[in-house]
């Protein structure tokens, strides 16, 4: 993990998304899919916290060697400021942060389920999987067309891709989880990777648990620091041996988790107080397929 003052090489618009490419060789060198970057905000603003974005692209060779790309939708103060950043400006960047997606050793057919900006990290993963001779199929979704992340690149990176939007403005009408059973059939998927909104990941997790499909998901949680010191970003994860669970830091112990071990109901609970351990006890989960 490094902290650098990184120059902005270029900025682009991709539908609803903004893309920033920065020069940060020390980070690009180490970056792997699922990891993220932490961007510092300017000093004199009334908002303080760093903002966090998945690494979409890390170039190690060629003309772009040493550069990193991340993408975001301008929403609040921080992303609005970032959206106005110009080439040749500098950013305070920490990365690569967090645990990356693990690659399957034996299994080959990988299904990547991406919702919204979740595609940013999964496209990066697709490249790495293909470089390892894995078959990559994709489900890419969003609420509407302009929020579907780089559909063309999605097609290029996958054997088959199904695009879904909630309003039907592009591809099938529906959500990525609706499209899941079908895709798994069609592609003979053996491993599932997913990134997107937590409720969707919960549904993907339930499906994979039921089908006994090994899976990994990249989660997002509010972060205070992004580098593991404040314990703001925790997700309840069952211990391997089922003796209980721990609140693990999405930034340091995640953001990639085995969905079978995430206690979704507890994490996504509306209640401000903790839910008691379910009567059936906590799941015992074998680790990621060797």
């Amino acid at each position: 993990m490094k902290r650098v003052r990184a120059e902005i090489l270029s900025t682009r618009r991709l539908g609803a998304f903004h893309s920033l490419t920065i020069v940060a060789p020390e980070i690009a060198e180490r970056a792997r899919p699922g990891q993220f970057l932490s961007i510092g905000m300017p000093m004199d603003r009334d908002y303080l916290l760093r903002r966090h974005f998945s690494i979409h692209q890390a170039s190690r060779r060629g003309g772009w060697a040493g550069t990193l790309e991340f993408c975001f939708e301008p929403e609040g103060q921080g992303t609005t400021w970032l959206a106005n950043a110009r080439a040749h400006g500098f950013l305070d960047v920490i990365g690569p942060l967090g645990k990356a997606f693990a690659y399957p050793k034996r299994l080959t057919n990988c299904l990547l389920v991406a919702e919204g900006h979740g595609a940013a990290s999964l496209y990066f993963l697709a490249q790495e999987l293909r470089a390892r001779q894995k078959r990559v199929d994709m489900i890419v979704g969003a609420d509407s067309q302009e929020r579907v992340f780089k559909p063309i690149e999605g097609k290029r990176l996958s054997q088959t891709i199904s695009i879904v939007t909630e309003d039907g403005s592009l591809g099938e009408r529906g959500t990525v989880s609706d499209a899941l059973p079908d895709a798994v059939e069609r592609c003979g998927s053996e491993v599932v990777y997913a990134a997107g909104n937590a409720r969707t990941l919960d549904r993907v997790a339930a499906f994979c648990r039921e089908r006994k499909l090994p899976a990994q998901v990249a989660v997002e949680e509010r972060m205070g620091c992004g580098f593991g010191v404040c314990f703001s970003c925790v997700v309840p994860v069952a211990r391997k041996d089922g003796t209980g669970y721990d609140n693990l830091r999405a930034c340091a112990d995640g953001p990639v988790f085995n969905p079978a071990r995430v206690l979704w109901d507890r994490w996504l609970s509306d209640e401000p107080t903790m839910i008691p351990t379910p009567p059936e006890g906590l799941p015992v989960v074998r680790s990621w397929p060797g």
Binding site: C225, C230, R266
Partner: protein
């Protein structure tokens, strides 16, 4: 200033700090993380997150949200419990080479006593900080610090058992801050950490929701600096010789200088260390630069040297 020997070292009773700038409790991690960003031997000290007798899972997320020039947060003091802490986290904190102050928390006198006994005589514990903002489970008070006699009882018990300095960390607002502070010192506290984060609530209008999973939380960051400064000033004037660790909104060297002028011997950096992990070291560098510019030789030269203003000075 040729020939002047300038040093950032701070001498406290039973405790020497390499610089006047520590990392505040809950903002220093587990000893694994911070070394990636700074030379930890340049830290004045590291205060551990508050450790309780039994493990705590903490509050549900979201645990942090932004507010103007501050953050509202609540971790529910998530920590592995003192035993696991001593096995794992504590040794790593010591290996950073910075003085380690262990922050202990609980809701009953017994918890504090047992926590202290487990720290007693343990190599590497430079000091103990008592976190007193938790609800009092025995007397059913809003916090252990809300009554002077109760705060004194807790801090006194810890101080009597401890062979290292004990700092009582107090909230900025308790019925009578000076009274509680004095009671803690009389009971044996070596010094005080002023202040803990301030009770607060973040609301997200758009969603009709509280920002935090625990609904209410605490406010920290630059927003509360004037609140912390007032607490340090008031207590240091009422109890002149008590060592105070100023905490609250310190982000730049100048902020730390303000704390020292107001009456603190050293400062703690919390929120700013989340925003910029190098902040605690850069703040110390800023203090050094200030001392140099003013021709002073040590942070002690700033202690309580607050002068009243003159319009001319402010307008000229």
């Amino acid at each position: 200033m040729a020939g002047v020997r300038r040093s950032l070292t701070v001498e406290l009773p039973g405790l020497t700090l390499p610089t006047p700038v520590m990392i505040a409790s809950g903002c220093a991690g587990t000893g694994r993380e911070i070394g990636a960003f700074v030379d930890t031997r340049k830290l004045g000290g590291i205060v551990s997150r508050s450790i309780t007798l039994l493990p705590r899972k903490g509050t549900p997320t979201p645990r942090i949200a932004e507010s103007p020039s501050g953050v509202v947060w609540s971790t529910g003091l998530q920590n592995p419990g003192i035993e696991a802490f001593l096995v794992d986290e504590f040794p790593r904190l010591i290996r950073t080479g910075a003085p380690v102050i262990v922050s202990i928390a609980g809701g009953t006198l017994e918890e504090f006593v047992r926590l202290t006994s487990l720290l007693q005589g343990r190599a590497g514990v430079s000091a103990i900080e008592t976190h007193l903002s938790e609800p009092d489970e025995e007397l059913d008070l809003e916090s252990l610090a809300s009554r002077a006699d109760r705060a004194a009882e807790i801090v006194g018990a810890v101080a009597r058992m401890s062979m290292v300095p004990v700092f009582a960390k107090l909230p900025a607002f308790v019925g009578d801050l000076v009274g509680v502070a004095r009671a803690c010192v009389r009971a044996g506290a070596t010094g005080l950490t002023l202040v803990d984060a301030v009770p607060a609530l973040g609301v997200r209008a758009e969603r009709f929701r509280a920002e935090l999973g625990s609904v209410t939380g605490r406010l920290s960051g630059p927003a509360i600096r004037p609140i912390a400064l007032r607490a340090v000033h008031e207590v240091s004037r009422a109890i002149p010789d008590v060592p105070i660790l100023g905490c609250g909104g310190v982000q730049r060297g100048e902020d730390a200088v303000e704390m020292l002028l107001a009456g603190a011997r050293a400062v703690q950096v919390g929120t700013a260390a989340l925003v910029d992990p190098a902040a605690p070291v850069e703040v110390a560098a800023g203090v050094a630069a200030f001392l140099k510019r003013k021709g002073l030789t040590s942070p002690a030269d700033l202690l309580g040297r607050l002068r009243v203003p003159s319009n001319e000075a402010l307008l000229g």
